[in-house]
Amino acid sequence: MANIFSPPTSNDVVKGGRFGRNGTDHSSAFSLNGDYPRTPRFQWAGGVARFWDKYMSLPNPFWAKPHPDAIDDGDENGVYAITRRTDYWFNRELAQLEQEAKLLAAEWAEKGLPRHDVERVGVLEPEQVLGMKCLELFRQWRKRVRTKMQDQIQSRSAALNRLIGESRAESNALEATANERKNTRSQIEAFQQFKESDPSRVGYDRIFKSSFGFWIFAGILTVAEFTANFPVFRLLLPMDSTLVQLASTLGEAAESHTWLAGPLVLFQDILLHFEAFLVALIAVVILVLLGKTTGSSARSVVAFSAKESPMAATTIRAHRRQHLFVFIVGFLGIVSVLSFLYFSRAQIAETAQSRVHSDSVSLAQAQLDQQAAGTDLAKTAATTQRVTDANRTLRQHLDDAAYAITVQRINNAIVLLNIGLVLAAMTLGFVYKREDLTDRQGEHPALRPLRARLQILEREALGHARGARISMSGAAAEAGRINHLLESHPLREWQGKQDRLQSVILQFRGENARIRGLDPANVIAFAQPSTILFPEVNEDEELRRPTEFNQLLQQLSEVETEFARVAAYAIPSGTQPTK
């Protein structure tokens, strides 16, 4: 009769034992495949154990030295990383077996079994059960180690295959970009050699050709703007009282010039209001200048097109850019000046009225002083002069106030006139503009996008080269790992595992005797040998080499060779990568 203490055949280990769980002992948490359902008794304990292994075994940051486990766990790609979980599983299962041995020992001890004075024929039942479980656990351990290693080797092989594929794809892409760059360079050279079939002049002439006429119109516009806006400044800027009197006197004197009185009065008025004259003149000149400049710039902006004259495209773009800036600034300047004029005219009536009010007060005070002077000849002379002056100023300002009200009333119309004059100045600038960009520095318009495309392709080539190198490097690393796993011999620890399983029977016997208060040596039933006969293990047994591994290595070599060939001419940088 075969038992666990008799030597098994080697096939028992591989095929699984004929000893298995009989289903009667529910307290046992033993599982053949490791996926057994946990009993409530040990479920929480297993959870705590997993929790401890997962979280509490992390290196303590306050330790002066790193946790030893952390050092061991560092290599996630080595054999240890693969067998670590299996070792943990083995230890856990062994602990449960030992626990079960103690329980069986206690149960048998309560019943006084085995009798210490009676010799047993055959193996003690609990020891047989425990022995079979130990045997099964060893078989499972061996199977798990081999399976895990084979799975890992296969996984690495798949990764190697994938990386070779990626390397090949990157290398092909690199070659494709190289070809495309070559074509693009050819196109660029062709366009650089391109000459316009009809090198016509790039520019335009004046629409309005007469310089004399231009200055005449410019002068008319300036005078018109000045005449329209000067009164506003005259009213806005207060005039010295002496000048006010002088202006009044001059106005009266101009009456003798009959039909020239109008221009004379205006001219005298302009000269007497010199501050207003200066400000108005500067504002008007600036307005006309802005209008003319804006019109000229507008023509430069609309007249040229890079598409129509591709060989002058660069010059045209620069030219248009500058004139666009001038146009915008000029336009904003015109808007600012016209807005200033508009808002100034909108409030001159109030300004003029306030002056009238102030003059009225001054006149009333002068009249009071004159009355107070009585018959005092000296005082009367002074006060009379003051009354005369105040009267004259008041009259002047009353006229101004009436004029201001009129101006304010037609403010919108005046601003339309201003806009019209500015538009006229712009038109004048537009029609008088002349430009010649024949001295061009341009190139074919297709060159710019081609250069941009070439640059993009070079960047892509660098990216492909980098990707190919990374993939090949990863593939080589995977191949090395596979070789390492194949030569790792993970079953070399089988003797230690068997030794630990041998202790289960001894633990049963010791615990039974201890409970019963006996020495195990005094129990005759325990005199039988307790050694479990495990099958022999060939620790040098090699793992199965993937069938495609050699082919993959060949492909990797080919890819590296291909990459070296392509990289020799396809990588834009001067430094060519090696294999």
């Binding site: 009197q245 002088l246 001059l250 004197a253 018959t375 000849l377 009379t384 005369t388 002056d389």
Partner: protein, 247 residues
């Protein structure tokens, strides 16, 4: 281009400024010294005529003229009122600037105002004495200050001196030549050389009036001037006549 336009402008401006400083000596103006007598010996009509004449003279003032209004001395302790002013000397003779014209008009306005004060009829009722000699002395002082200006002394008075020393209310009281010589000897007669004297408001129809005119003829001669018969009148309707022939 800019310089070529700007330079002629400043050149023109410089020429214009240069013309303003002419080499011709400026017009110095004329000095009018007016003695105003509103004493009770003159009736309302005479006062109105005098005022009208003075207003006319004022209207005929030119730029640079000097006007002095003197209330005829009343004698006693009450001082005579007087006002003297002038317009600025013109920068260019015969072509007053607008500013000068405006100042002249202001000056005339003030002068008219002063005239209306001096011809105050209410004040006339309180004046009982007339010191023409004192007025002539003060006029001589003003005339001396006129320097190179032509000076016209216009006396709007009946020329009847009524002071305790000399009362001309009666023909017999009018001093004779001897009195004038004594004053001249004592150098108590004011010097009026070069002064054109014009009298408006004097009585020229009565014997007393003729006697008074003879006295003043002699007196003015002693004062180194001369009053022609045409300038010693009761009434002058045209202010342009307030002048001496040949002046």
């Amino acid at each position: 281009m800019k310089l070529s336009l700007v330079f002629p402008f400043f050149a023109l401006l410089a020429v214009g400024c240069d013309n303003a400083v002419g080499s011709e000596p400026p017009y110095q103006g004329h000095s009018y010294i007016v003695g105003i007598d509103i004493s009770g010996s003159r009736n309302r009509t005479e006062l109105d005529e005098s005022k009208k004449l003075l207003d006319g003279v004022i209207d005929h003032l030119q730029v640079g003229d000097h006007l002095t209004l003197i209330e005829v001395y009343q004698g006693g302790r009450v001082p005579a009122r007087q006002w003297s002013d002038s317009t600025r000397t013109p920068r260019k003779s015969g072509a007053p600037t607008a500013s000068e014209k405006r100042r002249l008009e202001d000056f005339k306005e003030i002068a008219r105002m002063q005239t209306s004060i001096l011809f105050d009829s209410a004040r006339a009722k309180g004046i009982l004495s007339t010191d023409i000699f004192g007025t002539l002395s003060r006029a001589a002082d003003y005339a001396k200050a006129s320097r190179n200006r032509g000076t016209t002394l216009l006396l709007l008075s009946d020329m009847m001196n009524e002071t305790p020393d000399v009362m001309m209310t009666h023909q017999a009281d009018i001093p004779g030549n001897r009195w004038i010589r004594e004053l001249a000897a004592e150098k108590r007669i004011p010097r009026l050389e070069g002064v054109c004297v014009v009298v408006a408001g004097a009585d020229v129809t009565t014997e007393r009036g003729a006697a008074i005119r003879d006295f003043w003829d002699k007196y003015f001669e002693a004062a180194s001037t001369h009053v022609s018969p045409d300038n010693y009148r009761n009434m002058i309707s045209d202010p342009a006549e307030v002048a001496c022939s040949g002046s």
